[in-house]
Symmetry: C2
Subunit: 355 residues, 2 copies
């Protein structure tokens, strides 16, 4: 299991086969699901003035962003970028919304196992479902990779795309974040939502490019971020066209299709968008290749890393974290001219509900 | 080989595994590449009045289109559709541009083999390259499926995405259609380009959803159709993120990733767009599942089939054609309320260069 985690966290092996990585990445992700239910609570607030980006404190980070946007939108300037090439890509977990105490999609999977348990009496004797239902996360982890894949597939496959969309939508309207006791849709970073708005107001087309499930995000991204479904790139399982009676449906199969993480992100960007963005934002080594790909292009480029430095209002973590490990990308940030956003000092507010 | 062709042409087996179909579909496609170099020439013209869609003759087809667009854009009307849900998808080969005497991408592959031959002296003794270079299409076909896959991979893989984009762009600026002796970019259907413009003017977002290679189309679709790269869905080979020295590149691998044809089209639509379009246009049984998927949704829906009935100005073909076989979708058009556009009678002009 540790090998799988190491593989997922490491971005060194850049040319490994995309599909070859799928299983080990998934295994890493799922192990973390079981392992990460230990984390700190507590809330407070901060304050500072603002203008275009009111939740950003005045300072170098905010200035760099505004300077970049001003340059690429100044017609006749040497850094002017035509509107159609103003593409900005954002990671989701840890970049647009919180990823602690675990990826929200992992919390969704756990809730689903609980909700589905009455229809699955056999789970009482079947791992890792039995342990999960008892709240025994060590037992879940003990079931190994195959058991954890079983949890994802039991909760994400075996229904049509329309059915899954409804399940996700229902969960978001009822489930509440364990620390803040608010809907997950409110656990988004206000400064990043302002940044999305600011970029769009300046002609940018904004995309999510996330390791999370594409169909887990799409029902909610318009409402939460103003990003329509067709501008969401994510991981996917295989879907299949079939007929239910005479009605065409797309059924979700228990098989991984694409993992949009690490070196998968530039691939996903190329597949879905077909041009190289000029702006990328992430928060972990899973965004390293995306940041490299985006900022290696010709002309003005912007790479941004959200550094989780605020253990009071949110969480403080980087190199040692189970979720959103930030190590290599942080080491290279200065050399590659990526902006490291210090959440604690650069953000006046983190959530809209902060005082 | 005939089995492979039959498999590709048939849309009956709707629940076949997407990736399982890849090889046989590719084989069918490639066999046709070799088989289809027999076809009729000749040009003439037609004439009629017009308004919103000036190259469409007045009549039922044009009226039905205008009536639909009027209904879905009439605020307060019972068929009104919100702007963000006005998604229209168009097949490309045979729907937006001509697909005779062969798919343009097949003609591109042949030109590439000829252009690359000096760097590949071994091809003189290696099938199907040897036959292809001698113009012996029967010899090409005799090399079977594997040989034909070799042709596609030799011409489409083994370079970066940027390099392939340049090769494609260069080809489109120099190559000429064998019958019309004009650049392929001019062999597009003027009435369909007007339809794209008309839909966009009414708030629609227009997409291409084609069995053709996504990276073969993307460099040209903005110029030809006003459709940006991010609104092109197509077939793909595997791409891989890697480093060339310290420069990130995406390399094109000799391996099929996704075939966006038949039941693959609704899957591609769901993956790339994430919502169900309300308008679909195609011309062959390869569009059958897309037409089914789109027109089975709730609310107003429009399915359109371009029927190639004009052997003088373009080509006349349907049930027996090697390219763009139209059989099952035509049989069901009336029952499913799909508009069958009669190219000869409904279109005043076919190409912009028609008198």
């Amino acid at each position: 299991m540790m090998t799988a985690i190491a593989m997922r966290s490491s971005s060194q092996s850049v040319d490994v086969q995309r599909r070859g990585r799928v299983r080990s990445q998934l295994s890493g992700f799922l192990f973390l699901l079981a392992a990460a239910f230990v984390s700190p609570p507590a809330v407070s607030a901060a304050d500072a003035p603002a203008d275009q980006l009111p939740s950003w404190n005045d300072g170098a980070a905010k200035s760099e962003i505004i300077d970049f946007v001003t340059r690429v939108t100044s017609e006749g300037g040497q850094d002017f970028v035509a509107k159609e090439d103003r593409i900005a890509v954002f990671d989701n977990d840890g970049t647009l919304w919180t990823e602690q105490p675990a990826y929200f999609q992992a919390l969704f999977a756990i809730d689903r196992v609980k909700a589905m348990a009455p229809e699955h009496p056999e789970w009482k004797d079947k791992e890792p479902f039995a342990s999960l239902l008892k709240g025994d996360m060590a037992g879940v982890a003990a079931a190994g990779e195959k058991g954890l894949v079983d949890v994802v597939m039991a909760t994400h496959a075996g229904m049509t795309t329309d059915q899954f969309s409804k399940i996700v939508t229902d969960w978001f309207t009822t489930a509440r974040h364990p620390r803040f006791d608010r809907p997950y849709t409110e656990i988004t970073f206000l400064p990043m939502r302002e940044l999305l708005d600011y970029l769009r107001a300046n002609g940018f087309k904004t995309y999510i490019v996330s390791g999370g499930g594409i169909e887990f995000m799409r029902p909610m991204t318009e409402k939460m971020y103003g990003i329509p479904p067709e501008q969401v790139v994510g991981s996917s399982i295989v879907t299949k066209y079939t007929l239910d009676g005479d009605t065409p449906v797309l059924s979700r199969e228990a098989k991984i299709d694409f993992i949009d993480d690490g070196p998968g992100k530039p691939v996903g960007i190329n597949t879905f968008i077909g041009r190289r963005p000029i702006f990328a934002a992430g928060n972990s080594d899973g965004d390293y290749e995306m940041l490299r790909w985006v900022t290696a292009g010709a002309g003005p480029r912007f790479g941004l890393i959200v550094h989780h430095t605020d253990g009071e209002r949110e969480w403080a973590y980087d190199r040692q974290s189970h979720f959103g490990k930030l190590d290599k990308a942080m080491d290279e940030a200065e050399q590659r001219n990526w902006l490291l956003v210090d959440m604690k000092n650069d953000w006046r507010k983190i959530y809209a509900f902060d005082k």
